[in-house]
């Protein structure tokens, strides 16, 4: 299951969706809005996405991950819109027969999501300025 959403992410339901008796390991990753970034204080974040392409890219990433690890089930959800401190921006759940596979696949998915999935974040700093985050 791959989806973009404007509502808070129900990571409990997401995690339940990947559990199965074929798998001995589930890894869940949550990205959450952190207050401090290199000494600057965040008040909130805005996420903007290109949902159609984002879902296509995430489906590609799932295929790549499945070709490398014996994945049972995967669920990925990314939130868009206004997020407050501590809110969950992304949740990735993976189940595999064994734990090493699940950790590696989960880390691969979030690493690659950050590189290739068309979603952008705008910082609202505590000095009142805003700034699109565009990694070099």
């Amino acid at each position: 299951m791959i989806a973009m959403t404007n509502a808070p992410i129900d990571y409990h339901a997401l995690t339940e969706s990947v559990r199965s008796s074929q798998s001995g390991a589930v890894v869940l990753f949550l990205g959450t809005v952190r207050e401090m970034t290199e000494g600057r204080r965040t008040m909130a974040l805005e996420y903007e996405g290109y949902p159609q392409m984002a879902e296509a890219k995430l489906a590609e990433l799932e295929s790549q991950a499945r070709s490398r690890w014996p994945i049972d089930r995967v669920a990925i959800m990314h939130r868009l819109g206004h997020l407050e401190l501590g809110d969950i921006s992304v949740a990735i759940a993976v189940s595999c027969p064994h734990r090493k596979q699940a950790f590696e696949a989960g880390q691969f998915l979030i690493d690659e999501l950050k590189v290739s999935v068309p979603i952008w974040k705008k910082e609202n700093w505590d000095d009142g300025t805003t700034e699109w985050v565009h990694p070099n």
Binding site: G31, Y47, E48, G49, Y50, Q52, M53, A54, A56, K57, H78, S89, V90, I110, L113, K114, V115, S116, V117, P118, I119, W120, K121, K122, W132, V133, H134, P135, N136
Partner: protein
Amino acid sequence: MLQVKLFAKAREVVGSPVAEVHWTDGQTVLQLKRVLVEKHPDLQPMISRLLVAVNNDYAADDAPIKTSDEVACFPPVSGG
């Protein structure tokens, strides 16, 4: 005319989620970037970092574009 979806800072700078440009099928991604900057000079500072997606996939500078393609232009991604 070619419809180009814009996102993030590219959208903000242009002031609209879509840019419309005159287009001849077969012109390339690189030509699109030039046309966009010509029409929206505020994009100039970010042109070297602009990415173009054609039909939901990243497209290289020499990839041709047709007016029937789904085309988007945006800065490097920063999700997660």
